[in-house]
Symmetry: C2
Subunit: 599 residues, 2 copies
Amino acid sequence: MAETLKGMKRTHRCTELTTADVGKEVVVMGWVQRRRDLGKLIFVTLRDRSGIIQVVFNSETNPELHEKASQVRSEYVLAVRGTLARRSEEAINRNMVTGEIEIIASELRILNKSEVPPFHIEENVDANEALRLKYRYLDLRRPHLQRNLHLRHRIAKIARDYYDDNGFYEIETPFLTKSTPEGARDYLVPSRVHPGKFYALPQSPQIFKQLLMVSGFDRYMQIVKCFRDEDLRADRQPEFTQIDLEMSFVDMEDVIAVNEGFISRLFRETLGLDIPVPFKRLTYKEAMERYGSDKPDTRFGLELVNISDLVAESGFKVFRDAVENGGSVRAINAKGAGAKFSRKEIDALGEVVKTYKAKGLAWMVVEAEGLKSPIAKFLTETEIGQIKERLGAEPGDLLLFVADKDEIVFDALGHLRLELGEKLGLIDHKRYDVLWVTEFPLLEYDEEEQRWVAKHHPFTAPMDEDIDYLDTDPGRVRSKAYDMVINGYEVGGGSIRIHSQELQARMFRVIGLSDEQAGERFGFMLDAFKYGTPPHGGMAFGLDRLTMLLAGTDNIRDVIAFPKVQTAACLMSNAPDVVDEKQLEELHIKTTVNDKSEA
Amino acid sequence: MAETLKGMKRTHRCTELTTADVGKEVVVMGWVQRRRDLGKLIFVTLRDRSGIIQVVFNSETNPELHEKASQVRSEYVLAVRGTLARRSEEAINRNMVTGEIEIIASELRILNKSEVPPFHIEENVDANEALRLKYRYLDLRRPHLQRNLHLRHRIAKIARDYYDDNGFYEIETPFLTKSTPEGARDYLVPSRVHPGKFYALPQSPQIFKQLLMVSGFDRYMQIVKCFRDEDLRADRQPEFTQIDLEMSFVDMEDVIAVNEGFISRLFRETLGLDIPVPFKRLTYKEAMERYGSDKPDTRFGLELVNISDLVAESGFKVFRDAVENGGSVRAINAKGAGAKFSRKEIDALGEVVKTYKAKGLAWMVVEAEGLKSPIAKFLTETEIGQIKERLGAEPGDLLLFVADKDEIVFDALGHLRLELGEKLGLIDHKRYDVLWVTEFPLLEYDEEEQRWVAKHHPFTAPMDEDIDYLDTDPGRVRSKAYDMVINGYEVGGGSIRIHSQELQARMFRVIGLSDEQAGERFGFMLDAFKYGTPPHGGMAFGLDRLTMLLAGTDNIRDVIAFPKVQTAACLMSNAPDVVDEKQLEELHIKTTVNDKSEA
C-alpha cells in the first residue's frame, strides 16, 4: 500500500534549494526522473514542478534505506527527508539549476508507485502526438508544458491585474444562451424543461458586453471561453479563450491607449521586453499595399512594390490586361535570392502563389550583365530599366511579379513574402513586432449573396468622415475597427460600436436587412439600445494565441491543458461519446444515426 | 442623430468630484436620473456607475443651453462640461455623496435619447421581478445591483490574488467534455463531426483537477462555470460558478490553513471584518447533535438537547417507542417563548416539523407554578423535573420535543431551530460565523439501491483510523472531507482524495462496483492513477453563494448579471429557443416534439 505523509511536511520545492541551504535538514517530494545505481550509492533525480534535484542513498551509512531506494522506478512518487550537501567539485553539473548540491537521504517514503509510462517524460521527447494526447496527464509532466501553462496563468493574472487597476470590472456572462444567426456555427444544448428548444454556447460575449455598457458598468472585462463549431484548422480549437473587454464614453484612441498599456506591461512582466508605446500603426490600405496582408509580419522587409503604372501599356499582355481590368501588377525584390535560388526553387515559389489563386509568378534574376527572365523578351529596355530602378534591383536579386485583381495579387504576394522571409532567414525569431492595423473597410461585397455584408459585425461604427458614403459608395466607408498584430498574427481586434439608433438602422439597410429582419435577428439587443446607450467600444484578445506567441511555440495544443484534436475530439477522455438513450429521451431528442456502433 | 464625443473627454466620474475640485472645469458623462425645472434654473441629476451629481443650467447666463437641457428626459445619456461649484448652505443635501457641490454647465451634449423605461431606475424600486429580468439591462442600472456585481468582481479578484500569492496556477479545464454517470443530470452538446455522439458540459472540474495533480502542477485553482441540469430551487442556477482548487503533497490541515487564509483576507478586504484564524470546527456528529444540521447557523443558541435516557422507560409511549426503536427524543428550549407565543403559534411550529417528516411536536410551556402541556399527563413528576433541569427550563420557556429516528429528529428540530431563531429575533444579521464541519461519514446507505454509496464522491479518502471498518462496519467510517459553513450556508467543501490504487479498489468494492464497472465509469482517470499519483486534496467554493452572503442578499439573482429563472430560461434573451431545422440536421439529431409551436 502507498505510504502516507503522516508526520512529514515538505520544506522546499526541488529548485528552491540553493547552496545557502547546505547543512539544513530538508524534505522534498516529487517524481523519480531517473535512478542510477553506482555500487554502494544510488542516485535518484527527483522532479517537481520547479525542476529537479539529486538525492543520494548510501548503503554504508544506511543500508536499509539504500535497499528501499533500489526499489524505486521512473515516475514513482517519493517523499525524501535528508541533509542538503554541497557536491564535490568533480560531481558538479553545470547544466542543472541544482547542480552544485544534493540531498543525502535519511528517510524515504514511497508515496506511490508507477507503471512504466508509455513514453519517457522529458523535455524533447519525440513521441507521437496522438499517444501523448491520450496520456495527456503524463505529457503535461514535461517541463516545457509545465512552463507554458505557468506562463498562461501569468498572462491571465497580469491581464486581470492590469484591467482591474484601470477600473474594469470582471463580469461573467452566460454560457447557456441563445443561438444568433450571424457568424459561425453554434454549439447547441437541448433543453429538458422546454421540449424542442435549445440553448447555444456563446461564440463570444459580444451582445452581453454591449448590454453591460447599456447598463452603465462603464468598463467591463472577462477572460472567457467561447465556442465555435467550425471546421478546424491546425491552430483552432472548438473552445477557445478570449480576454474580452468593453468601455463606455470612449473613442478609438482611448481603447487603443488602454490596451497598449496592457500589452506593454505583459511583455515587460513575462519576457522582460520593452515594447514602447504608442505602437506602430498601419492603415488597412497601407498594410495591404506594403505587405499584402492585414496582419503583416513586419519583422522583415521584402515589401510589395506597385509597378502597374510602368506596365499599363506594356507589350506584355499579362501585365497590361491586369491593369486594364482594374487590377494591378506588383513585385517583390528578394534581395540576393537570384544568386542563391535554383531554377527549381524559383518554380516552387510559383506553386506558392498558385495556392492563393494567382495564375502565375513572373520573375527576373538580375545579373551583372543584363537579366535572366522568361518575361524579359516581352518588355522593352526602358520598361525593364524603370522596373529595376523602382525595385532598387542589384545584381544577384530575384524580382518576383504577380499580375491580377488586387485581392489576388495581395494574397499571393503576401504569402510569398512570408515564405521568402523564412527561406532567406530574414526573420528574427526573438523579436516581437507589435502594431495596430486601422481603417478597415466597414463592408465587403458578398458575391454569392449579391449584397454588402459587415466585415466585422453590424454594430461596428463607420468613420465619421465616411458616413456620407454609406448609401452612395458603401465600399469606400472605413470603420472604427482596429486589430492588434504581432509577428504576423492577429492577436486581438475590436471596434467602436454604433450607439445611435438612426445610424444603426441605416447600417442595417445597407446590408439589406429590413427593420423587421433586424428585429428578428437582434431583437432584445435593439430593444436595449432604445433606452439610453452610451458611446462605447472594446476589443478581445485571443488568449491561446497570445500565449503561443509569448511561449515561442506554433502549436496551439502546447498552451492548452486538455486540448482537442482537429476532429474536435479529446483523445484522453474520448469526448464526444455515445450517451444513454434515457438521457436523450429526457432531452426530447433522438439521433438520426441508425447504427451507433458505426458512428 | 445622437451627438458625438468629439473633442470632449471625461475628466471624472460623478462621485470622484469633491469640494477640493471646486472652481475646476470638469466633464462628466452619464444618465439622467431626474430633471427638475425651477423657473430660470434646470437641475439635472446625472448618474454614472460611481453615483450621482447635480448639474445646473441657468437660463439667464446661458439661455441656449437651458433650452437644450429642457429637452432631456430620464435615462438620456449626456456629456456635460462645466465648472464645479459649492452649493449654497441651504441647498446642501446631506444624503448625497456629492451633496455639497454641483456643476454649473457650460456645454451639454445629448449623446443619446431614451424611451420611457418600463420601470423607474432606483435603489428600492418594487417592480415585478419578471419585468425587471426581461429588461435586465435596465435593472442592472440600479445602484444595489451595480454594487453587487462590483463586489463579485472584487471577490474573484481577491481569490485570484490570494491563491496566486500562495503558488496556485489558474489552469483552464475543458467545457466540452464527457458525460459521467455519477452525480446530477448533464447538459449535453451534440457533435456535428461525430454523428450520434455528445459532449457533456462539466458538473465540476473534479476529474480534470485531479489529473492536473497527477501531472505535477502541485497547486491548481480556477474560477469556473459548472453546469447541472437539476430541477431548480430558488437559490440554484443551471450554470453556477466555483472557486475551485486542488493541492498535492498535503493533508487536511494544509488545505484548511490555506483556505482559512483566503476567507480571512476576503472578509477583511471586502467588509473590513476580522475573522480570526483558525476558524471554529465542529465534527459532523457534534453539528448534528447540537444544531440538527451539518451546516449549522451558529449565530444563536437554541441548541438541541438529547433527553432519550430520561424517557427511555417513560410511560409516554411516543417517547419510549422512539428510543426502543433505536431513535431518540430531543428537545429545544425556546427561552421565553412560552410567555410570547399563542397556542396558534405553537401549533404552527408543529406544522414546521411535519414538513420534515416528524410525526408531531410535543411541547411544554413552563409556568411559575407547574406546566401547561398536552403531554404532561403521560410523564411522571420525576421525569418532568429531570427534563426541566436538563433543559435549564425557567418560567416563561417553551420546551419543544421531537421523538423519532435520529435522522428525522435532527432534520425537524434543525429546521425548527432556524424558524425559532428568526421568530425570536435571535439572529444578528450583521454577524458572520465562519466554521468548518469535519469528520463526515464516508458512506451512506441508499435504501432504494440497497447499497452503500459515497456521501461526497468515491475518491474521498477515509480517515486513517477508520480504514479498518471499511469492510466490517462501513457506516462507521469517517472521511477526510470538510465543509466551510457561514451563517448556516455551506459555502464550500472538499476532501483529501484517495491516492492509493489499493484503497481506491477497496472503496469501489464497498460501494458495490466491480473493477470492470469502475473501469467503465471512471476509465481514463483510473488509468491515470496508475502512473504515480501524489497525495492530494482540495476544495471548491460556490462564488454565487459567497457573494450573496457578503452582499447581504438572499436572492441569488441579485449577484448574477444575467441570471436564469426557475425554469432555467432567460427572460431577457428568451433562451432556450427553437432553432432552424437545418442546424439540427447538421448535428444529426431531431426533436421528439411534434408541434413545436406548442413547446
